[in-house]
């Protein structure tokens, strides 16, 4: 077991990801402090989701290391990353559409459950107890995101905003230390965005670090402690919101070069 250095929960060091001829992520390094909200922003196609995918094990980085709570997780498989304590939502919402909201969240607890084949097959008391606990916890999480009345509805029947919240509840079910949110506010109304900011605050109160990708500047500036900016795969800025919003390279990247 490694040690954490100065409260960092996630540290990316010189991470690059190459797809054939395309360098999607180019030598990116940054640190996410425990208990913070860290945001990753940048124009479309900058490599943000690719970076998320590297961190969560969808594919390994071509070079570089990714330290999570002292362990190098670069190249770990997705389920291993989840068990270590990193959870995520997806840019395009990947819910289990034809399962109920309750079941979605219960699946999220899979890695924290202990029921073995034998227990499930014969519905041993131990398994039944665990199922009750899991169901209770799932209901709690649904309450936490405000969806408990939809517990028995199929995920695909929920409204868009509800689906996004369900995905967060499901991710929280894995009992993460670090929660990765990939554009959680995409398509949200202003009211929903306010609610999301409150939700992120509540999540922080639980001791979970939040790392998000977002396009809505007001949201990002409003809740982040620290922001990193990617453009064409490179990190072009990092710092507290006030600094980043005044950074010339950042403004250029978003608005394009003035003639």
């Amino acid at each position: 077991m490694g040690e954490e250095q100065d409260g960092a929960i996630l540290r990316c060091e010189h991470v690059s990801k190459r797809f054939g001829g395309l360098l999607a992520v180019d030598d990116v390094s940054f640190t996410v402090e425990r208990g913070q909200v860290f945001a990753l922003i940048g124009p479309n196609g900058a490599g943000k989701t690719t970076l998320f995918n590297c961190i969560t094990g969808l594919f390994p980085p071509t070079t570089g290391s990714i330290w999570f709570e002292g362990l190098d997780v670069a190249g770990a498989r997705p389920h291993q990353v989840a068990r270590l304590g990193i959870a995520r939502t997806f840019q395009n919402i990947r819910l289990f559409e034809y399962m109920t909201a309750l079941d979605n969240v219960r699946v999220g607890q899979h890695a924290r459950m202990h029921a073995k084949l034998w227990d499930s097959l014969f519905k041993l008391p131990r398994e039944r107890r665990e199922e009750r606990e899991v169901t209770e916890r799932a209901m709690e999480l649904l309450r936490f995101v405000g969806l408990e009345r939809y517990a028995h509805d199929y995920a695909r029947n929920l409204a868009y905003g509800q689906q996004r919240r369900l995905e967060i509840a499901r991710a929280l079910a894995t009992q993460p230390h670090l929660l990765l949110l990939d554009e959680p506010a995409a398509g949200f109304t202003p009211q929903e965005k306010v609610e999301l900011m409150e939700l992120v605050g509540s999540i922080l109160d639980q001791g979970i670090t939040v790392f998000l990708i977002e396009h809505d500047m007001r949201l990002v500036m409003g809740i982040s402690h620290r922001i990193a900016v990617l453009d064409h795969g490179e990190k072009i800025a990092e710092g507290p919101p006030e600094e980043v919003r005044r950074n010339e390279r950042v403004i250029e990247a978003y608005l394009g070069r003035t003639a």
Partner: protein, 406 residues
């Protein structure tokens, strides 16, 4: 909450948890009821000559068991297995070799006679082992390739049994298998004798096999139901829905799929053991690709993923295959003769006569059922509610109305 679409959650106590309005539960109840009265009914209807039908019903039960097992692989976990008959063969040959005099004429020179009840367990584990061996290196393949690999395995296994003739008697198969016995059992008026306890009860009467099969099916259906509503069952469904998201939730997709595969295989082995004991003969010709597809057809037609649906599908296909299609030639020839088209029954040149030609329909019928089901009613006869929505794109009872008023 809209009752028809949402699943049930009930208080403690399993009786009160049974929802009699749930279509699945009623189907189970109907099937069980029918199964219990069937032998008596048949004997009554045929004036005591119904033993053959009871025997056939027991055989049908084997296929129901096979369909249930394949359902775990295809319906729950979403993996296409085209060589399922291989595990059926493995189970059957396990019984044949270890409960007969076969091994006496092999280089081993020593016959083995392990009791049927123990061999059921042995067959389960042997088949599961082969399932795991096959699945471990191949389950990460895409669906199409996995299907082909399982097909290849399904072709290899019976051929190996056929080729290793010194051990398996090759094409002739192994016969004169041990009869299962119970140390003690009861006999009564249904067998024409007064109520009494019998020692060394031998499973010779097909009715005994039938009762055994019904009992086994009840137990197995309960077990599979348990699995479906457990951590593992949800993991399977999650993998089937979205493998990437499932992995992101901490599910080890490879081992979970492997479990589905091995458990599915173990059911097949279990069925094979029973089948061998009842038939008292195993031969490599009974485990061809057609058998694998027949079972797949049962699962698909019945409603992938839905346990009672699969059981009904299995019975439906069994009846079509072993009753309708077998008797169709004589029915058709008879009908042709009755309406004055009797000349069609005579072979002429390449025309083999209406009867034989009708018999050749089996492939076409199977193919048509598969294709039409997938195109017209992909959710099967009795789909799980999930499947119904997934494939038929029916309009669902909305709870959005609740949202609007929120």
């Amino acid at each position: 909450m809209s009752e028809a679409v949402t699943p049930r959650r009930g208080p403690r106590g399993w009786v009160s948890r049974i929802d009699w309005r749930d279509r699945n539960t009623t189907t189970f109840a109907v099937l069980l009821g029918l199964a219990i009265v069937f032998p008596g009914l048949v004997q009554f209807a045929t004036g005591g000559n119904g033993t053959y039908l009871v025997s056939t019903a027991a055989d049908a039960g084997v296929y129901v068991l096979l369909a249930l097992g394949l359902n775990v692989v295809v319906g729950f976990a979403g993996l296409l297995d085209l060589g399922y008959a291989a595990f059926f063969a493995i189970g059957a040959y396990t019984y044949a070799m270890l409960a007969s005099n076969r091994l006496a004429v092999t280089p081993l020179h020593h016959a083995v006679h392990i009791p049927f009840w123990l061999l059921l367990l042995v067959a389960v584990f042997v088949a599961a082992l082969f399932g795991a061996l096959l699945g471990a290196p191949t389950l990460r393949l895409r669906g199409d390739y996995l299907a082909i690999v399982t097909l290849g395995f399904g072709e290899i296994v019976p051929r190996v049994f056929r080729n290793l003739a010194t051990w398996t008697a090759g094409v002739n198969g192994i016969s004169a298998l041990d009869v299962p016995t119970l140390p003690a059992w009861i006999t009564g008026p249904w067998a024409g004798t007064p109520l009494a306890i019998v020692r060394d009860f031998q499973f010779i009467d097909p009715t005994a096999f039938y009762v055994l099969m019904v009992a086994l099916l009840v137990v197995i259906v309960v077990l599979i139901n348990n699995l479906q509503r457990s951590r593992l069952g949800r993991a399977w469904m999650a993998i089937r829905e979205d493998e990437v998201a499932a992995a992101a939730m901490g599910i080890n997709t490879v081992t979970t799929k492997l479990l589905a595969f091995a458990i599915g295989a173990s059911f097949s082995g279990f069925a094979g053991c029973f089948y061998g004991a009842k038939l008292s003969l195993v031969s490599p010709e009974n485990f061809s690709f057609v058998v694998s597809v027949t079972i797949l057809l049962m699962v698909v037609l019945g409603g992938m993923g839905n346990i009672p649906g699969v059981m009904v599908g299995a019975l439906a296909i069994y009846v079509i295959d072993f009753y309708v299609l077998t008797n169709l030639p004589s029915w058709v020839s008879g009908a042709a003769g009755a309406v004055g088209l009797g000349f069609l029954n005579q072979p002429q040149g390449a025309w083999p006569g209406l009867g034989d030609e009708t018999q050749r329909l089996i492939y076409l019928v199977f193919g048509l059922i598969l294709v039409c089901t997938m195109l017209l009613r992909p959710q099967g006869l009795l789909p799980s509610r999930v499947r119904q929505q997934e494939l038929a794109r029916a309009t669902t009872q909305e709870s959005l109305a609740d949202v609007e008023s929120a």
